[in-house]
Symmetry: C3
């Protein structure tokens, strides 16, 4: 197995796909578990540098040239406007042309073709595939197929089935990373000893059972000893046992909680999530009372002044629009951070992250 788990037991044994390139860098990006702490920190720095460089006209134009010789395929047969647009914008930031397949019914599956063939055909026109698919494990299978081609290209998983959405987890970590770092200099500094999450309390709130976002993010935060995680959900929607066991194995402080007002004053960040009732078979969770799991206007006096409010969006009632123009609302930034993190990840996969790093150090000395 060639992925990089700190703890090999965390990966199902069926996973035998080679995911690294010859020089031992990540090649296919499939699982949140592939990211170790060094890589997470590195990508957060690259994302931050990309963001700063893009802010100046000349910088934006420089970024535009980095992958202008490459083309990406966005194969999104599971519809998702914002993940799609975030990846598309990330490609544009780096000047990479792209195209998309979004409606599975227009593809040649109607002529009886397997998706194994479709993906391999598409791989002929493009230099990487960014994929979102309703089936679990699909991205891995396709990475394996691509490995069998004379011309192999990298694959990035933009969400497959209900198990994995690694770039969402990475953008969430990056958002917290930006909130917890004290200064810009602090965010781009290379220091393998540093742990921005140490002593921070982060609450996950809402439907923790079925939101893959929280699951993936937990895997990444477990790389940072000293973080304290609160899981705040009604009993029926609490985080699943495997995550708890994983945290225990990694000695991460964590608590299960059943009331947001009780704990919110204690938090450095709250990560709100909506009820995922599209997974209901028969509307069985629609009647759950979520009033104790919502960030309402009434809670405002309890909030710390430096609290970071995150939400992967879309939201419903669990996050009051009252906070929309509050400086503590980080959920709009979170969307934009997704674009920068995805650009960083694409740059990394094409081995041009160093180009961004060098450019940054040439133009911004501090």
């Amino acid at each position: 197995m060639d992925i990089r788990p700190e703890d090999p037991t965390e990966l199902p044994t069926r996973r035998r796909v080679r995911l690294l390139s010859r020089d031992d860098r990540l090649y296919h990006v499939i699982l949140a578990q592939q990211f170790d702490r060094e890589l997470i920190d590195h990508l957060c720095r690259i994302a931050e540098m990309t963001r700063i460089i893009a802010d100046a006209r000349a910088g934006a134009r420089f970024l535009n040239t980095i992958l202008s010789h490459k083309r990406a395929m966005l194969y999104f047969t599971q519809p998702s406007t914002r993940t799609f647009l975030s990846f598309a914008a990330a490609c544009q930031v780096l000047g990479m042309a792209y195209n998309d397949v979004r409606d599975p019914t227009t593809s040649s599956e109607v002529k009886g073709e397997t998706e194994d063939d479709t993906v391999r055909v598409l791989s002929q026109y493009f230099d990487c595939i960014i994929m979102r698919h309703p089936r679990e494990g699909f991205a891995e299978r396709m990475a394996n197929r691509l490995n069998g081609m004379r011309r192999t290209i990298p694959l990035l998983n933009g969400g497959s089935g209900k198990d994995q959405h690694p770039t969402q987890a990475m953008l969430d970590v990056y958002t917290l990373y930006r909130c917890f770092a004290e200064s810009l200099a602090d965010r781009v500094r290379h220091d393998s000893e540093r742990n921005l999450f140490e002593g921070k309390t982060i609450a996950f709130v809402g439907d923790l059972l079925r939101g893959r976002t929280v699951r993936s993010l937990t895997y990444l935060l477990a790389r940072y000893p000293g973080v304290r995680l609160l899981f705040v959900a009604p009993k029926e929607l609490q985080i699943s046992e495997d995550i708890i066991e994983y945290l225990e194995r990694n000695e991460i402080v964590h608590e299960l909680k059943y009331d947001l007002p009780e704990v919110v004053g204690d938090c450095d960040a709250v990560y709100m999530t909506r009820l995922q009732d599209e997974h209901d078979k028969d509307g069985e969770t629609k009647s759950i009372d979520l009033s104790r799991f919502s960030l309402t206007e009434e809670l405002e006096p309890k909030l710390r002044r430096d609290l970071a409010i995150l939400h992967p969006l879309p939201r419903r009632g669990e996050l009051d629009t009252f906070y929309d123009e509050d400086p503590r609302a980080k959920y709009w930034d979170q969307m934009r951070n997704g674009m920068w993190m995805r650009a960083a990840l694409i740059a990394y996969v094409f081995n041009v992250d160093s180009v961004i790093l060098d450019h940054y150090h040439s133009y911004y000395n501090y």
Copy 2:
């Protein structure tokens, strides 16, 4: 109120959205009424310069770089292939990357999200939003929402509801401007005293009651004293009272007419429009006889040799294909003019219209 009406009474009082940038330039482009004569003339000159510059390979490549550091979102939840493509091509002319949301059913509204949230999320990935929406007043409401964000971006209205379609009106004015100017030099000359429309007779023909195109265009032409406007329509479809009052207030010569053959020989331009029977509740206008409101082959001997024939297209029977290859047919050019005008407008909003102007003066001495 921060828009620039010459006559403030022409704007409904509910309109309180700040539409200008700090240096008092138009920021959000929502209404035809925002354009005063100076700005119309300026944008026509910029559009004309863009057109000329783009004609040479080196010029086209220069234009390509002007907004290569920006990205646009084309949010077209009301389908419109040609307005969409015209804006998309305008973005491409300026080298601006773009992406689109065209099918509202693929958006995350299905997960219960409000459009207020959707538009604000999209605003995180892009540097401007070009919007077409079926609901009246929607563009203004969204401009207001964007003004509330820490990172505000401009919004251009590509048609909202049945009231406003300002860029269509601007491209129509530009088409007339090109027809009435005597030479290229005349079209790019800066002269705030000049009035190309003085003494010109322009007939609007067809369904004037329900076509927003004619309404918006009338607002713009009313900036030019000395123009003479004929409204040629069957009684049931004549121009509405508020437009007439507006023209009277602005002392613009205008006449209501009920027969095209009678007046066509007198016209410098005819602006043909189709029956808008999609607004019918019960097909009540389908039986109206439009034969006296059609530009047929039989009318050809009456037409002036320098007549300009315009039509926003699509057409039906009211404009005979007989004219398609006639030099007086300006309706094909009109489409292409839309691309140049939209490019000019986008350049203006991003404050790079001066870059086009400077380039033009460096390369083309007149």
Copy 3:
């Protein structure tokens, strides 16, 4: 008639559209019959040079600039994901911006517009139209319409009705050309005497009656005396009489065969095709036994070591996945070759093929 048939009788008399530019180059690309041997060889060389140049980062970026001042419209009202993406990628290779109309229901036909008008409107925003349409002869009619405009732009046929798909035929020839040339130098060498297909045996296998691919490819291969063509199909699906007559008129060696295992050992190339049962009226061909017309694992010992296996894809059972990673499988390359050939063709139509040729000779001395 201004197309270039070697044998004028091969073109129906209804075809009167002017397809050449003033300097006698191909302007509109509509039919496989427009390509004579000199042009086929030239385009294969340009495609090959494009492929090689694109392989280096600097080369890819150079190609990116060639048509960066142009915009293409991909008018694909007949859905075809892979032909669409292949053309789109070809545009991107040359740095040409593009846009698309893919769903005819979103166009303004709903407002009662004719496609003659739609295509002419679109022509105003773009510099060429690449078109795929379900109706036979549609591309020619539109080329004629465009010829009537003051601003004429070239049209490339990406498949119209069941008769013509010239770029598919060209990419197939290019794939064979790459397989039969002995070296890279051999593939880019200019030699009007050379005939790479001389003495080669090529078998077409499967549904030859209804696949337009094989029909078009046969027209092109008939430019090369000395090639030997085998048509291997069940009786009900054999190649049609007009193709046989055409080959006889051109003195091309050809044989009808009814069993693949019998002839496969004799072939330099096999071109597999799937059953086109979407053309069935009542499933009448679904019961045909295709086991003798499939490239199965069992046939492997009979295959020549330098055999080239082609398939336009999508496939079904007629081509065993057993061959997918075999070096003789050229069907993945074939897809990628399509992108290079289409780029070559677009470059040719815009008269910048010489730019590619000059660049190649400056950087690669052989």
